[in-house]
């Protein structure tokens, strides 16, 4: 991209021309590929073209923006104009979870999914009002820098480093995992190869150019994301309503969906399917009640059935099915109890009628409705505070030109995020409408191609099985994971494959841009804050940059190695990161600016207790984590506080952190005069550096 350090005055115009022609070229590429597809270009090639063009583009920007200058490497020279900083923040922010996850959650849980939209946008109000201007005024390199300077000593900085790693690393693994899924779906190459190709493009960018290259790449990635997300939604809206504005027109489609859902609720065939699921659940309950005798009994029954089938020369498919069931039969009684409980819960869930698309807290029982409402609100609050505590987003305030620019750039970031988020409800509703009108009622022999393609990729993503054996697809027979809603949407809506590849390229951009930001946050926290500030403060600048780049590679490959192992329950890990950020960084940073009395002891104690409360709530209430920590079987009931699910554990951690910070600070000495002067300095955009702080660029923190 046309960015040159020595021509700041000409920067905006040149950049604008550059990005506008970039967007035009990208739209031209989509048009050209659609045309070639109609002329018979193989689908796989379209995927290759998108992958090659986008990844080499990101690497190219990285090479153009290469730098070893510390201010450029850490904070992009602090001269990114507000609009571009906003775009880069938006790209940094919107991960696979935003690009794929929000529409998927809205599809699966209807109104409940809106908690993510409200939480993730409302967090920016906190960033703008409570943090961004002050961090920009402080003007160092990393978030632990602020903690180190404000609270003094190594402890707070070390806590900052730990929290940054805790919040960012799991998030990074999830992004790289997403990259693997998307590239393998887009081109058909293997999961691991996909990870390493995309990682290559990403590393060229962040390794060579640090924050500067990442910023300008993220602007390009944002443009790709916004095109990839809005174009298919607009096309589908035109298809269904004849007009191009989804936010205005899809309300009518929602009405049709609601009517169809009311009809399906009482449809005899649907009731039959649900009855079959209920019967299976009852069978599992019967087995569970009869344990341990049923363990050997069921195994025997399976063996006899297999023998019978073989004797009767039954179709091979049925024999294979029973063989597979026998092969995956639980090894002992405890495993059987666990597996059967899970199967029972799955069948019970499938026996439920579909979650209504637009109704808030849909439950017949008022108590259950209240539980849904309190969980919705808890999740909103937790996500808001978590957003405002995510170090890779906060680090973005350092890159803007001035305090005023930092305020404006948060506004732009929210604007650019909303361009996507406000399309997500429409997307989910349109996909639901397509499924209800195109798929339900279809003969099983004439299933569309995309059903086979996605269920071949992973049966967990999509599974359509004839439960009641009537040869017709019922809603209760479709098991669709939310993760494929956004990716499969063009195919479901009957759009050309080039649009599918475009969506995949957008999702890839979302994953890579977030991963880049996280990688820099992690490597800077470890090299700048730990390696330089804590371990060896006399390290020369050139060595510091080298150390940062080395750690960047190390972190990237560790995360890729972990992601290649396909860890389970990645969504929970991502939301755990938000809870940790909400209960550590958020209280420490807000109190650091708004309450002068808080000292280092208070900050450390508060962050530790916030993290402990959050982590222990998760460990005690999340069945998977509990099994891992105390080997309690997952089937045991959990006791929740006020019915709040572990996904929103941050709502308990954050208040504890605030309270402990205040209590411990009041019991220990006041912060010294220098710290108070620093707070005064940070609070006022026009204030100048207090005398005792003035020194070398890093000496605000250097005096400790």
């Amino acid at each position: 991209m046309p960015v040159h350090p020595h021509e700041p005055d000409r920067l905006p115009q040149r950049v604008l021309v550059g990005y506008v022609s970039f967007a035009a070229a990208f739209i031209g590429l989509i048009g050209g590929l659609t045309w070639l597809e109609m002329r018979g270009m193989p689908r796989q090639w379209i995927g290759y073209v998108f992958l090659a063009v986008t990844v080499s583009l990101y690497a190219g920007i990285g090479i153009l923006c290469r730098t070893s200058d510390p201010a450029e490497y850490y904070v992009a020279g602090r001269r990114v104009p507000a609009v571009y900083n906003g775009m880069a923040t938006a790209a940094d922010w919107m991960s696979v979870a935003s690009f794929i996850g929000i529409a998927g959650t809205l599809y699966v849980s209807g109104y409940g999914g809106l908690a993510y939209i409200v939480g993730w946008t409302g967090g920016y109000v906190l960033v703008a009002l409570l943090l961004a201007p002050y961090l920009r005024k402080f003007g160092q390199y990393t978030i632990p820098d602020f903690l180190g300077a404000r609270y003094g000593g190594r402890g707070p900085r070390l806590m900052g480093v730990l929290c940054a790693v805790l919040c960012s690393f799991t998030y990074l693994v999830a992004q790289i995992y997403g990259v693997g899924i998307i590239t393998s779906r887009m081109t058909g190459i293997s999961f691991e190869l996909g990870i390493f190709i995309a990682l290559g493009g990403m590393l060229v960018c962040s390794f060579l150019g640090g924050m500067r290259a990442v910023t300008w790449t993220q602007v390009g990635q944002y443009i790709i994301m916004v095109i990839a997300y809005t174009v298919p939604v607009v096309l589908l809206t035109v298809k269904h309503t004849g007009q191009p504005v989804p936010q205005a027109r899809v309300g009518a489609v929602l009405e049709q969906v609601v009517q169809k859902e009311a009809y399906l609720l009482n449809d005899p065939a649907e009731q039959q399917v649900r009855a079959v699921w209920l019967a299976r659940a009852d069978d599992m309950t019967r087995r569970l009640d009869a344990l341990p005798a049923s363990f050997t009994h069921e195994k025997e029954a399976l063996r006899t059935r297999l023998a019978d089938l073989n004797a009767a020369q039954a179709p091979l498919v049925e024999v294979r099915l029973v063989e597979r069931e026998l092969a995956t039969y639980p090894v002992d009684v405890a495993a059987a109890r666990d597996a059967w409980t899970r199967e029972r819960d799955r069948c019970l869930a499938r026996a439920e009628p579909v979650v209504p698309a637009g109704q808030p807290y849909p439950a017949a029982d008022p108590q259950q409705r209240d539980a849904m409402r309190i969980n919705f609100l808890a999740l909103v609050v937790c996500l808001m505070m978590g957003t405002a505590g995510m170090p890779h987003i906060l680090a973005r305030s350092y890159t803007s030109v001035s305090v005023a620019g930092a305020r404006r750039s948060v506004g732009w970031a929210l604007f650019f995020i909303l361009l996507l988020y406000l399309c997500a409800p429409a997307l989910a509703i349109l996909v639901k409408h397509e499924i209800y009108t195109q798929l339900i009622g279809l003969q099983f022999i004439s299933l569309p191609d995309w059903v086979d393609a996605w269920s071949a990729l992973d049966p967990q993503l999509l599974q359509v099985t004839d439960i009641n054996r009537d040869g017709i697809v019922q809603l209760g027979e479709i098991e669709m994971s939310g993760d494929i809603v956004a990716l499969a949407m063009p195919e479901i809506g009957g759009l050309p494959f080039a649009i599918s590849a475009l969506v995949a390229a957008g999702a890839l951009a979302a994953a890579l841009s977030t991963a880049d930001g996280l990688l820099l946050t992690l490597s800077n926290a470890m090299s700048h804050d730990f390696g330089y500030r804590i371990a060896s403060p006399r390290m020369p600048m050139a060595r510091r940059i080298m150390l940062s780049k080395g750690l960047l590679l190390l972190v990237a490959f560790t995360a890729a190695w972990l992601a290649a192992g396909k860890p389970g329950d990645i969504l929970f890990m991502v939301s755990a990161a938000f809870s940790f950020a909400a209960s550590s960084f958020f209280p420490a940073l807000v109190m650091g600016v708004f309450c002068k009395r808080i000292n280092g002891w208070g900050a450390i104690a508060g962050m530790i207790s916030g993290l402990l409360v959050t982590a222990s709530y998760m460990v005690f209430t999340h069945p998977g984590l509990r099994e891992w920590a105390f080997s309690v079987p997952q089937s045991d009931p959990v006791s929740l506080w006020w019915g709040i699910q572990p996904i929103a554990a941050g709502v308990f951690g954050a208040p504890v952190a605030f309270a402990v910070m205040v209590a411990v600070s009041w019991l220990t000495p006041r912060p010294d005069a220098g710290t108070l002067a620093l707070v005064d300095y940070v609070r006022r955009a026009g204030a100048r550096m207090p005398r005792d702080m003035a020194g070398d660029e890093g000496s605000v923190t250097g005096r400790f």
């Binding site: 305020r407 003035a694 605000v700």
Partner: protein
């Protein structure tokens, strides 16, 4: 030039460290008010140079009236933040809380769905924009000025 700054780091640390390490608790608290700032340990010209390094500004302004003006600025900021945050809390918490009680149609959508999906996020955008507009205007009227014109 830039490398020169960084070679100066250990020296600055050495200048500043004795200031706090040898100080008793009483002494520290007596200095706690911002109006009693400890004298600079740096020579004046060096001090000025360092401000430039730290804030990347080219103008050092007179800050005699700074404490009073800072208090006023902080007060305005506090009021603006409090008002905007109460709107923020009302939109993000009250709307979902009463979602089941409002059922009328709005712009073709069920109102509770619309307000959570579109109304709240757009309100957040307006809040952030208003805050930036007000505070940037207040800053522009600040004699100390923003650190970069």
């Amino acid at each position: 030039m830039r490398d020169g700054w960084h070679q100066a780091v250990p020296a600055v640390v050495a200048y500043n460290e004795p200031m706090y390490s040898g100080m008793t608790r009483e002494k520290r608290t007596s200095l706690s008010s911002p109006s009693h700032m400890p004298p600079s340990h740096l020579p004046p010209d060096r001090h000025r140079l360092n401000i430039e390094r730290a804030t990347r500004t080219s103008s050092v302004v007179d800050a005699k009236a700074a404490p009073l003006r800072s208090a006023r600025f902080w007060c305005i900021n506090g009021i603006v933040v409090a008002v905007l945050l109460s709107i923020w809390a009302a939109v993000s918490l009250l709307a979902p809380f009463f979602a089941r009680d409002v059922t009328f149609n709005f712009l073709g959508w069920p109102f509770s769905f619309w307000v959570t999906a579109y109304g709240a996020p757009l309100t957040f955008l307006v809040i952030v924009a208003i805050y930036a507009a007000i505070m940037n205007r207040v800053d522009a009227g600040d004699p100390a000025g923003d650190e970069r014109p």
